[in-house]
C-alpha cells in the first residue's frame, strides 16, 4: 500500500486547541491524489479520539497544498494538554500514514 509520505511534505502546529496541518504535494501532478486521499473522514478516522471536534480541509490549488484544520484536537491547547507534543508539531507526520487514493 502506498502511503501519503511518498507524495507529500507536511508542516503542523497549533492555535489554541486547534491543530493545523499543511500538506504539500511533492509535484503538481500529485495534487489530485492528495485531494482524494486527505478527506475529513480519513483524517478523523486516522487520529481517532485525539480529534474531538470537526475536521475541515481547505484546498490551495495555487500551491498544490491542503490546509487541514482539526478542532479540539490538542487535548485542550498547548499549556493544558497532557500530551508530550504540546503544539502538535508531530501530527503532520502522522497524517502521512494515510493511504494514497487515486480516485
Amino acid at each position: 500500500m502506498q502511503t501519503l509520505d511518498t507524495i507529500a511534505y507536511v508542516r503542523s502546529g497549533d492555535k489554541g486547541d486547534v491543530v493545523s496541518i499543511g500538506v504539500i504535494a511533492k509535484s503538481p501532478d500529485l495534487y489530485p491524489k492528495l485531494v482524494n486521499s486527505v478527506t475529513e473522514d480519513s483524517v478523523k478516522e486516522l487520529f481517532g479520539d485525539w480529534v474531538k471536534g470537526g475536521v475541515a480541509i481547505y484546498p490551495m490549488e495555487n500551491i498544490h497544498s491542503l490546509a487541514v484544520i482539526m478542532r479540539r484536537a490538542l487535548g485542550g491547547g498547548a499549556t493544558r494538554t497532557l500530551r508530550l507534543d504540546q503544539t502538535g508539531k508531530a501530527m503532520g507526520n502522522g497524517i502521512l500514514r494515510l493511504p494514497v487514493k487515486t480516485n
Partner: protein, 454 residues
C-alpha cells in the same frame, strides 16, 4: 523599478539563536530587522514574572540580544522592530535606552508601544456587555474563570509601530502585536500607506510576506520535511524579505549561510499554523493565501506575487490566560526483552498506586514512548520486540498536592516495578495556565507610543 524594502527576520521565538541575527546585520544591508519573541501564552509567563518584580515582564533575552545587535544596527542604519516588550514594553525601553547610553550610542531613539495588555481593564470589558465566548470551546461562561485570570493580551496590529517609526524610532519595542505586524509596520511606514480599503491588497501582501518569514529559520530549511537535504543547518541563515512597492516580494537568505530557500521551504511555512487559507485573519487585514504565485528564481531566491486580500476586521483577538490547576507527570523506561509487555503491566501497577494514594484528577493520559506518544491512535503496534519502550503518564489535577502524588507513585515503581526499569530525574509538578481566546471590538484597544532617547 520603484522602492524595495529589505526586511530581515532576526528571531522566530523566545529562545531562538542570536548568531544568525548578527550574521544578517554583518553580511547584509537590510532596512529592518524584525524580531518575534512571543508564543500564544508567553504573555502569561511574563505577566507572572512581572507580578513578582514590577521591573520585569519583558523577554529577558532582549537585553543580551540588543547588546550584540545595537552597535551593528547603528553602523548599518538598520532599524530593529520587536515584540520582546512582553507585558512591560516601557520597562524594556528604559533598559534598552540605558544600554544604548552604556554602548556609546547617543541619540538612539527607543520606542515603547503599549495598549495590548488589558489585564487591568478586564472588568471594564465585561461591563461593556461584550460577548466573550471562548472561540475554541464555545463556552460562554467567562465569569467562571474571571477570578483566576492572570493575563489578558490583545493581538494588536501595526499602528503603534508605524507611529513609532514616524517619530524617528531606531528601535521599536512592542508587546503582543501580531507576529507579522513586525513586518507590516515597516512596509506601511516606508510606503506611506494608511488603512483605507484601497490599500487592502498591498497590506495583505505584507501580512503574507511577514507570515512566511516570521519564524526565521522556519522559511530557510528549519522544521522542513526535507531536513535531510538541507545543507549546514547548524549555521542556518535567517530569511530576508525584499518587499517591492508593487506588492510582490522575494524571499532569500544570508549569502553563504546554511539551509536553503526554495519553493518548498516557502510553501511549508505559508501553510504553517493557519486557519482557513482564504482568509488569514490578522489585526491589520485579511490575507488570501489561495491566489498567490510562487516562483523559484534560483540561488536561494523565491518570488511571491499575486498576493492580496481584504481590509482589517472590526474585532481583535484577545487571549486571556487563567490559572487552571496542575499537571503531574512521570516517565519510566523498560529494556528488552518484552519491553512493551513490561510497560503495559507497569501502567496497571501505576493505576493501582494512584488509587491507593487517593489521587484525585480531572484527566489522565498514558503514552508508550517509542510506540504511540506522538501520533496516538494513528500509531500501529510494533511487530517486533523493541530494544526499549517508555511509559509516560500525565495527570491534570486541581491542586499541587494531588499532582505531587503522581511523582510519588512513579518513584515508588523504582522498586515496586519491573526489573530493569530506568528513570531519569523525577519531574516536578507544573502549574497550568489555561487559554481563553475570544474576539473583542477593535475600538476597545488604543495603542500608545512613548519615545526614549539615549
Amino acid at each position: 523599478m520603484g522602492k524595495t524594502i529589505r526586511l530581515g527576520a532576526g528571531s522566530g521565538f523566545w529562545g531562538d539563536a542570536l548568531d544568525p541575527a548578527i550574521e544578517l546585520l554583518e553580511k547584509e544591508n537590510i532596512d529592518y530587522l524584525s524580531m518575534d519573541y512571543l508564543a500564544e501564552l508567553t504573555m502569561a509567563l511574563l505577566q507572572r514574572l512581572q507580578s513578582r518584580n514590577p521591573e520585569a515582564g519583558y523577554v529577558p533575552d532582549l537585553v543580551a540580544h540588543m547588546r550584540a545587535l545595537l552597535p551593528l544596527a547603528r553602523e548599518k542604519e538598520t532599524k530593529i522592530i520587536c515584540n520582546g516588550g512582553g507585558t512591560n514594553p516601557e520597562g524594556a525601553a528604559k533598559v534598552i535606552r540605558n544600554l544604548a547610553q552604556e554602548l556609546g550610542l547617543g541619540g538612539l531613539r527607543v520606542a515603547a508601544v503599549r495598549g495590548d495588555n488589558i489585564l487591568d481593564q478586564v472588568d471594564e470589558l465585561v461591563a461593556t456587555g461584550c460577548d466573550l465566548t471562548n472561540m475554541d470551546t464555545g463556552d460562554s461562561d467567562f465569569l467562571a474563570i474571571r477570578e483566576r485570570v492572570v493575563a489578558a493580551s490583545v493581538y494588536t496590529g501595526a499602528e503603534g509601530i508605524i507611529e513609532a517609526l514616524a517619530k524617528g524610532a531606531d528601535v521599536v519595542i512592542a508587546g503582543r502585536v501580531s507576529d507579522n505586524a513586525l513586518y507590516v509596520g515597516p512596509v506601511m511606514h516606508e510606503l506611506g500607506l494608511d488603512f483605507t480599503e484601497t490599500n487592502a491588497d498591498i497590506i495583505a501582501s505584507a501580512i503574507t510576506v511577514g507570515h512566511i518569514v516570521e519564524c526565521a529559520a522556519g522559511a530557510t530549511g528549519g522544521m522542513s520535511s526535507r531536513f535531510d537535504e538541507m545543507p549546514d543547518m547548524g549555521r542556518v541563515g535567517f530569511p530576508i524579505a525584499e518587499f517591492h512597492e508593487d506588492g510582490t516580494a522575494i524571499i532569500t537568505k544570508v549569502e553563504g549561510s546554511g539551509g536553503a530557500v526554495d519553493q518548498f521551504t516557502v510553501k511549508e511555512h505559508l501553510v504553517y499554523e493557519i486557519g482557513d487559507p482564504n482568509e488569514y485573519l490578522m489585526p491589520d487585514g485579511v490575507a488570501d493565501f489561495t491566489r498567490l504565485s510562487i516562483e523559484e528564481l534560483g540561488e536561494d531566491r523565491v518570488r511571491v506575487s499575486d498576493m492580496g486580500g481584504r481590509g482589517r476586521p472590526e474585532t481583535l483577538k484577545l487571549v486571556v490566560g487563567y490559572e487552571d490547576g496542575w499537571i503531574g507527570e512521570g516517565m519510566l523506561f523498560f529494556p528488552w526483552p518484552h519491553a512493551l509487555q513490561r510497560a503495559e503491566k507497569a501502567r496497571g501497577t501505576l493505576l493501582t498506586r494512584f488509587d491507593r494514594l487517593g489521587l484525585k484528577y480531572d484527566a489522565l493520559h498514558f503514552d508508550y514512548v517509542g510506540v504511540n506518544m506522538l501520533h496516538g491512535p494513528a500509531s500501529p503496534m510494533p511487530e517486533y520486540d523493541p530494544a526499549e519502550i517508555g511509559l509516560r503518564v500525565a495527570v491534570h489535577t486541581r491542586t499541587r498536592d494531588e499532582a505531587e502524588k503522581v511523582r510519588r507513585a512513579c518513584a515508588q515503581l523504582w522498586i515496586m516495578g519491573p526489573g530493569g526499569t530506568s528513570f531519569g530525574t523525577p519531574m516536578k509538578p507544573r502549574p497550568v495556565v489555561g487559554s481563553w481566546p475570544t474576539l473583542i471590538p477593535r475600538d476597545f484597544v488604543k495603542q500608545t507610543v512613548e519615545i526614549l532617547e539615549a
